[in-house]
């Protein structure tokens, strides 16, 4: 479909662009003291965008802009997910103590732009668009990570992020260039055709190219061994941004990865629900399995050492990326389904955990475990919801986290006995993770004395805690609607040439 026609299917993105512009312009007319209002503009706008996406007839699966991006339920699902995350984060950002003395106008506009980039990311089926979207998201993230200009840690984070990011996306680009060279096309489906046609002699080349591309993906979802930026950036960046980075770009990158592996390296079978087979002889499933195991193990194991809750959560988010990657090698309908379910659950529990960190930092102005002493007695809401998030992140029923893991493991078991070892390792990992997650709980309740005066965080923050905590619990008990929605979103655009 040519560009002009495409516009008629592109209006959510256009709407988003308008929202961003409005935010920027509005920011010019207000003084910094009330720059927070921009946040509400963004939130409001995002809600509109969400509605427009919701009512967009995504069932009409189609490609836009001459096969640059697609419009399909799969991308719609991720768009909504990302919008939700963005809304949550923006609301919390309004009350984060870190951002007190900064003008928040750009902050929110940048958030908007990242969202836009992510939209492209989740729907791109063209190498060019892949790179462009990644870069959009990355560049904005660099800026946001270093948003606290006066804070040297924030600066450092930004520097590391930018160098690391640019470096790995560069490597990815180099890999992409080889893929282009090998296939003469940048379109997923044509590439897949050529790969399928190409003989074994080019496998090694493809392998190298794929590995280089993987460097890019791995960096975005912070998978070992491309994760080294994560802890420092997460620690240094404003907690709100950390929270955002821990969920939204991951989701986008995962979506992109799914498309890439499913449609470039496999025959896209997962899209139509059947198990797919690798169309090239390169062992990408085993590479991914290895990556997944490494990622969760390193994430969990290192997390034990942390004394800074924020940093601990950074590693935990690495570990969770590992859990999601677990399902990737199977690349069956169920596994993709499982990843999507996991993302939804992960969104609530992980954001919730970070919101707690923000709340606590507002109060004690610290992020280390010591700052959490006796918190459970002092701030019951925070204590209870944090406990809930930790339990959920560990993956114990009856919480959302368990359901996520349950779906992942189920898809693996269904994938056949070849994947059982992954399940066992995943399980043992969640046992390890219990250790450091419960450490927070322990500090909050066992250390430190119970206070007689109770403390309650500002209304909005407590509200956000509940908004994340309640689903974390409820989805652990009854998740049918979500499951069905995801089931219906499990429709992909597949072009057969």
């Amino acid at each position: 479909m040519n560009n002009l026609q495409s516009l008629s299917y592109f209006y959510p993105e256009l709407l988003l662009t308008m929202v961003i512009l409005v935010a920027i312009i509005y920011d010019l007319f207000i003084d910094s003291s009330e720059s927070g209002k921009v946040g509400w503009v963004l939130v409001f706008g995002l809600v509109l965008v969400a509605i427009s996406i919701w009512f967009q007839d995504s069932s009409k699966v189609t490609t836009l802009f001459t096969d640059a991006i697609v419009l399909d339920p799969f991308s719609t699902f991720f768009k909504l997910l990302i919008i939700l995350a963005t809304i949550f984060v923006s609301i919390v950002s309004l009350h984060s103590g870190e951002l007190e003395n900064y003008r928040k106008g750009e902050y929110f506009s940048l958030l908007g732009i990242i969202t836009f980039g992510l939209f492209l990311m989740v729907s791109s089926i063209d190498l060019i668009m892949v790179y462009v979207s990644i870069e959009i998201v990355s560049i904005m993230s660099f800026v946001l990570a270093g948003y606290l200009k006066k804070n040297t840690r924030s600066n450092e984070a930004a520097l590391k992020y930018v160098v690391y990011g640019a470096f790995s996306s560069g490597i990815m680009l180099f890999g992409l260039s080889y893929i282009y060279g090998l296939t003469g096309s940048t379109n997923f489906f044509q590439i897949q055709q050529t790969f399928a046609a190409s003989g074994p002699e080019s496998n090694s080349a493809i392998l190298i190219a794929v590995i280089m591309v993987l460097a890019g993906f791995g960096y975005k979802i912070s998978a070992v061994p491309f994760h080294f930026w994560t802890p420092d950036v997460y620690e240094g960046a404003p907690t709100t941004i950390t929270a955002y980075l821990s969920i939204a770009p991951k989701a986008g990158a995962l979506a992109m990865m799914i498309r890439f592996f499913n449609q470039v390296l496999a025959d896209g079978g997962a899209m139509v629900g059947m198990g797919s087979f690798s169309s090239t002889d390169i062992p990408w499933p085993s590479i991914l399995s290895l990556l997944a195991v490494l990622t969760m193990t390193v994430g969990n194991v290192v997390a034990i050492q942390q004394n800074n809750v924020k940093r601990m959560l950074a590693y935990s988010s690495i570990a969770h990326a590992g859990y999601m990657l677990l399902a990737m090698p199977v690349m069956s309908g169920e596994s993709v389904y499982a990843i999507m379910v996991y993302l939804v659950m992960y969104l609530f529990m992980n954001l919730g955990a970070f919101f707690v960190v923000i709340t606590v930092k507002n109060r004690t102005n610290g992020e280390t475990f010591d700052d959490y002493k006796g918190l459970g007695w002092e701030m019951p809401i925070v204590g209870i919801s944090m406990t809930l998030f930790m339990v959920s992140l560990t993956g114990l029923p009856p919480t959302a986290g368990f359901i996520g893991k349950f779906y992942i493991f189920a898809s693996l078991i269904q994938g056949g006995s070849a994947f059982y070892w992954l399940v066992i390792i995943g399980g043992i990992n969640s046992v390890i993770s219990l250790y450091y997650y419960l450490r927070v709980v322990k500090v909050m309740y066992f250390d430190g004395e119970r206070k007689d005066s109770l403390l309650f965080p500002p209304r909005v923050l407590s509200g956000m805690l509940l908004v994340t905590a309640i689903p974390t619990l409820v989805l652990g008990i009854y998740w049918v609607p979500i499951a069905e929605w995801i089931q219906s979103s499990l429709v992909f655009f597949i072009q057969t040439i």
Binding site: F142, S177, S185, D232
Partner: protein, 101 residues
């Protein structure tokens, strides 16, 4: 065919130099230049492929887009380095290492 290989060879060397630069330079600016080298190596590939590989123009387009993005990236990166300089009075990447295990 040979010409293509020459280009690829140059690109590979550029890429390697870029990687090397990123790894060894302590001056932030130099590190960023290393990144630029990598990107341009890739660009060279794209152009070469689409010129000699007898392929469509996607390569050229890709190249152009990459140049644009690289510029944007560079801008942001430089801004960050300048910010570092303001706070730490140095642009040596190794002096920015407060966060570690």
């Amino acid at each position: 065919m040979d010409q293509l290989n020459n280009y690829l060879f140059i690109a590979a060397i550029l890429f390697s130099l870029g990687v090397f630069g990123v790894m060894t330079r302590r001056n932030g600016i130099a590190v960023l230049m290393g990144v630029e080298l990598i990107l341009n190596a890739a660009n060279l590939n794209f152009i070469a492929f689409s010129r000699f590989g007898g392929m469509n123009l996607d390569g050229h387009i890709f190249g152009l887009i990459v140049i644009v993005l690289a510029a944007a990236e560079a801008a942001v990166a430089l801004a960050i380095v300048i910010n570092i300089y303001n706070n730490l009075n140095t642009i040596n990447v190794d002096e920015a290492s407060m966060m570690k295990e």
